[in-house]
């Protein structure tokens, strides 16, 4: 990828991160850690990879995205707003009574949300159903999903993986946000789903391991996934929970807590500084 393009995506990812901080700060709750870790993945999907139309969010021929790790809705909402599915002003109304942006994605009321998720393990099954649907109809659209690494502890994930491979759903590309932290601590301390790559390979997936914050690697992985025939692809993306906000990085405590006013100011200051670095 050319540097200019990379810079452009980095700027969007920065705006996504700002959206995550602003929305969770305003809500006084929510899940910033795992939203920040997938900012690059979401940015690439919504600005480079997926065939979508923000003006016509229900367009039948669109690619689909299912945020299986639904608690990181702040990240999804921020990228949807950046892409023009709804005004950025909606973000600060996250989790406010009677407002559109629910704590977890709600496909009935939020433009651009293709599936209601939040209960871990369920999103991937829906994504598999969507991919199967496209195969049945002979449609060429693709289906994308992002799962949490801790989410892999849900048995349903493996029911879905087994089925997707058995039905040869090569139009399905999932990504695992491997930030190595879940609510109760490190994966290995809680109930390790490791090794991730070998598990998905054993379940019949084509697996690509990447640095989930590197746009070159993200681009290469999604491009490669499209060339794979007869099996679904899993991108195992090594990421950093809380990435982009120094005091949130690699801390499980930022899984599900919001920044207070002081922390908010510091986070925004750090993200502003990123812009100077990119040269915006």
């Amino acid at each position: 990828m050319e540097q200019a393009q990379k810079n452009e995506l980095a700027k969007i990812a920065r705006m996504v991160r700002i959206g995550v901080i602003e929305s969770t700060h305003s809500a006084k709750s929510g899940h910033p850690g795992g939203s920040l870790s997938i900012a690059e993945l979401l940015t690439y999907l919504y600005f480079r990879e997926m065939n979508i139309d923000p003006k016509n969010p229900k367009w039948a021929g669109r690619d689909r995205f299912v945020l299986s790790k639904g608690h990181t809705a702040p990240g999804l909402y921020a990228v949807l707003a950046q892409r023009g599915f709804f005004p950025v002003e909606e973000l600060v109304k996250l989790r406010h009574t009677g407002e559109m942006l629910q704590g977890h994605p709600d496909m009935k009321h939020t433009p651009g949300v293709d599936m209601s998720t939040g209960s871990l393990g369920q999103g991937i099954s829906a994504a598999v159903g969507m991919a199967l649907s496209a195969k049945i109809s002979g449609d060429s659209n693709r289906v994308y999903s992002i799962l949490g690494d801790g989410e892999l502890e849900e048995g349903q994930v493996w029911e879905a993986a087994m089925f997707a491979a058995h039905k040869k759903l090569d139009n399905l590309c999932i990504a695992v946000d491997w930030n190595n932290l879940q609510i109760d601590g490190e994966l290995g301390e809680v109930n390790s789903p490791l090794p991730i790559k070998e598990k998905f390979e054993a379940f019949g997936f084509h697996v690509i391991e990447i640095d989930g914050s590197d746009f070159d690697q993200i681009e290469a992985a999604y491009a490669q996934a499209k060339t794979v025939k007869g099996k679904p692809t899993a991108i195992v993306a090594k990421t950093v929970k809380g990435k982009g906000v120094s005091f949130m990085e690699n801390k499980a405590s930022w899984h599900g807590s919001a920044p207070n006013d002081e922390q908010y100011a510091q986070a925004i200051a750090e993200l502003d500084a990123v812009l100077t670095k990119i040269g915006g």
Binding site: M107, Q122, S125, G129, S133, Q156, E159
Partner: protein
């Protein structure tokens, strides 16, 4: 008298799916390694390109159904009631119910008439579970004719439907001219002393009970409530007004099923005695279906006894 035709509602379900598949090209049927038992195997044979076996994985079954429905397909997903409503309850609630997706759950082997398989497979909680999901329609047909018509009606309704079918062959009550409408109960006999509100295989027992009561000079009204949610409130209220005593009859726990629905409604509108024939707060057991039904008090005789109790309570 001609011999009464018998058919299990699961067989009617299979037949209906095959027919529906002929006209609805968007119909997809899913199962979880029970196609031979749930009778979706009939659809598999007729429309192999639109049948998918999810294997022994009911949580994924419901999730895949949700994904298919989210992209515009009409989906029937089948397993035994125990697994479709029980094991996959939260998938039904969050992946189907919350987004109000067009998924029909064809749950077979409901209730204790499963028989020999015993308590682990005799699901008497499914109606109670499904009733708590906002927007869920629940249909529990009384015979093969009604089951078939219910499938066609459910296919035309945009939204989730839980359909409850049984393993046991049941006497056919209705003929082809029978009119079925989701949410509209059917008054089968007129009566003023007691109203027997029945669903599923207990409808036939209710009709037999009404005959017995009639011979004893008691006029019993029998209602067939095939749609438990939304409940036909008008018909139930009218029966309560005109009889003042009610017996509900269902092959389900007395907690949270038809009896629960009728009681909840009448306690807020017109409190009258509502006595419940159903599975008391207990698990089932192995045995031939008819013997098990008798053991748990799910026969016409039990309805007759409860009817007399209800009348006595009203007159007390």
């Amino acid at each position: 008298m001609n011999e009464i035709k018998k058919q299990a509602t699961r067989d009617a379900y299979g037949e209906a799916l095959v027919e529906l598949g002929n006209t609805r090209r968007d119909l997809i049927v899913l199962d979880a390694d029970l196609a031979a038992a749930t009778k979706t195997g009939m659809f598999k044979k007729a429309h192999p390109d639109r049948f998918f076996d999810c294997g022994i994985a009911e949580q994924n079954l419901i999730g895949v159904a949700a994904g298919l429905a989210a992209t515009g397909k009409l989906v029937f997903a089948s397993s035994f009631a125990m697994f479709a409503a029980g094991r996959a309850f939260e998938q039904v609630r969050n992946s189907v119910g919350y987004p109000h997706l067009n998924v029909k759950i064809g749950a077979t082997h409901a209730g204790i008439s499963v028989g020999e398989d015993g308590a682990t497979h005799q699901c008497c909680e499914d109606i109670a579970l499904m009733r708590t999901i906002p927007g869920m329609t629940i249909i529990n047909p009384a015979d093969g004719v009604e089951a078939k018509k219910a499938v066609f009606a459910a296919a035309l309704l945009d939204g989730p439907v839980y359909m409850r079918f049984g393993r046991l062959a049941l006497p056919t009550i209705f003929d082809e001219a029978y009119k079925f409408e989701i949410g509209k109960g059917v008054q089968l006999t007129d009566g003023t002393d007691i109203a027997i509100i029945a669903t599923g295989l207990m409808v036939n027992e209710a009709l037999i009970a009404a005959e017995t009561l009639k011979n004893e000079g008691i006029s019993a009204r029998v209602l067939n409530i095939h749609t438990i949610k939304p409940l036909d409130r008008d018909l139930v209220l009218e029966a309560a007004k005109q009889t003042g005593a009610i017996v509900t009859a269902e092959e389900h726990s007395v907690i949270g099923g038809l009896g629960g629905a009728v009681s909840e409604f009448l306690s807020e509108t017109l409190p009258v005695p509502v006595l419940k024939v159903g599975v008391q707060d207990t698990f089932g057991m192995s045995g031939p279906a008819l013997e098990v039904l008798k053991h748990f008090g799910l026969t016409a005789e039990d309805i007759v006894a409860k009817s007399k109790e209800a009348i006595a309570l009203r007159n007390a």
